[in-house]
């Protein structure tokens, strides 16, 4: 076995990260003639699986505490790596928990950074103490320093990594991408709808979108479709908010849909919204939201928050609005709805600028060649 890919993330799943893992791992295993894919399991996924020359191993221990679980996962990675240390040439990882056990051997390590836990932590785990975050930051910096190459999906996150003092020569940009998918109009789709695709963390700004949608109450036939990549119980606070705003009946909720069904929903939408908030997670760390790329690939006009990471993807071919401003978001959506021809033209231009996964994979292959 010459290559391995480890991610502290469930695969496959309805989250954007799973699409990304699928593409990146495919490139790795194409290049090295198969290998080991180590990911998180659970939810009925098999613990061990063989797909051609790729072996998939899934960590599915039920450990309630997240740090305990992450550390147990690290040990699991070390155990799965040990038999192959003599032959491995390259290991690709996505997070510090995968990186720690793979560093310090003869194989090269490519560390792909889609997010920095030390920046996200205060958002996802508000009760984590600053001291804990500091420890995590050190851990992260150690892994980044030791890795042979660091791959980032956007230059905003690349800058964040350079600010941490990591040698800029080993930081490579491999942009996220989207491929146009053949689409069928989904069952139960309303006639005319806005769409939001993604998870429901606070920094996604779905609450801003709901407030904006409430301001479009005069467009009585308009619906909002929320394709959540997470389970329904996490939508409870947002559903309560929708109730309070009086828009609950006009919202269509879909949860953890498979990726190809989401493409159908995206293609049929009048406007796709990415109302990311202006929090440090989105500003400093940056992100490369697949939802925007996939909306662009589907030819759907995009309204998104004006953040550096978003501008990098969307350029002039989407409607950028100030983040956290429901009124401005509503106005931008209204303009797109009232001028559908211009909106479609803009979306067509956007579709042309979406990098395809083939381009991204070629850039990743170049990184593999260089290390």
């Amino acid at each position: 076995m010459r290559a391995a890919y480890f991610a502290f993330d469930r695969f496959p799943s309805s989250k954007g990260s799973a699409v990304h893992i699928g593409q990146m791992a495919a490139e790795l295993f194409d290049r090295f003639g198969g290998g080991l894919l180590g990911v998180l399991g659970g939810g009925g996924l098999p613990r061990y699986q063989r797909e051609g020359d790729v072996r998939i191993a899934r960590f599915d221990e039920q450990i309630p505490n997240l740090i305990d679980r992450a550390e147990a996962y690290s040990h699991w990675v070390a155990r799965h790596l040990a038999p192959h240390l003599e032959t491995l040439e390259l290991v690709h990882v996505r997070d510090p928990w995968s990186a720690l056990p793979v560093l310090g051997h003869r194989h090269k390590v490519v560390y792909e950074v889609n997010g920095l836990p030390s920046i996200e932590l205060p958002h996802t785990w508000p009760q984590a103490a600053p001291a804990t975050v500091a420890k995590l930051r050190r851990l992260e910096a150690h892994c980044l320093e030791q890795a042979d190459a660091v791959v980032v999906p956007s230059s905003v996150i690349g800058d964040a990594i350079r600010r941490m003092g990591i040698n800029p020569e080993k930081v490579f940009l491999v942009p996220n991408a989207a491929d146009p998918a053949p689409t069928t109009r989904p069952d139960g789709a309303p006639e005319r709808y806005l769409i939001y695709v993604g998870a429901l963390q606070r920094w996604q700004g779905v609450d801003v979108l709901l407030r904006a949608f409430a301001r479009l109450a005069d467009l009585t036939e308009l619906r909002l479709v929320v394709c959540s990549s997470v389970l329904e119980r996490r939508a409870k606070p947002l559903q309560r908010l929708a109730d309070r705003l009086g828009v609950a009946e006009r919202i269509v909720w879909r949860f953890t849909l498979p990726h190809d069904e989401v493409a159908g929903w995206l293609a049929g939408a009048a406007v796709s919204a990415a109302p990311l908030t202006a929090c440090p997670r989105n500003l400093d760390q940056g992100c490369a939201p697949l939802k925007i790329l996939e909306s662009m690939a589907a030819g759907t006009p995009v309204v998104a928050s004006d953040l550096p990471a978003v501008r990098e993807i969307l350029g002039e071919d989407g409607r950028l609005v100030a983040p956290d401003r429901p009124a401005e978001l509503a106005r931008a959506i209204r303009i797109l709805l009232e001028y559908p021809d211009q909106a479609r033209a803009m979306a067509a231009r956007a579709r042309d600028r979406v990098p395809s996964w083939a381009d991204s994979r070629a850039r990743l292959a170049e990184v593999y060649r260089r290390v």
């Binding site: 502290f8 740090i67 997070d95 996200e120 103490a129 804990t132 851990l139 150690h142």
Partner: protein, 122 residues
Amino acid sequence: MKTEEAGRVIPCMVSTGFFVLGRCGRAPVTACAGCGRPICERHVGPGGVCPECATAQGYGSAYDPFWTSGFRRDHYRSTSSTYQDPGWYGTFDDYDRGAFDPEDQGDFGDFGDGDERDFVDS
């Protein structure tokens, strides 16, 4: 970082101990000028920083009162690779872990199934 949150004073958050890790927990007098965490009288270093920020710039002799903080970090780093024990590196103590227990979900509601929050959610 405020030393007071929701009317509750957050105690000094400096890690203590070497092998048996813990938190100081004394009443804070200020916030660290480096990382902002609350620190008590005993853990205020020159320049108003906590021991970990003080030693981040390189630590002196073993007589230096904050020396163990830097030495602890180096020790855990080197033994983590000697023992091939990735879990050892992080030096996460019970207090760190406490924030990540599923029953302590804050305003995120309860979701104890496979739908867990991760560190990074893209």
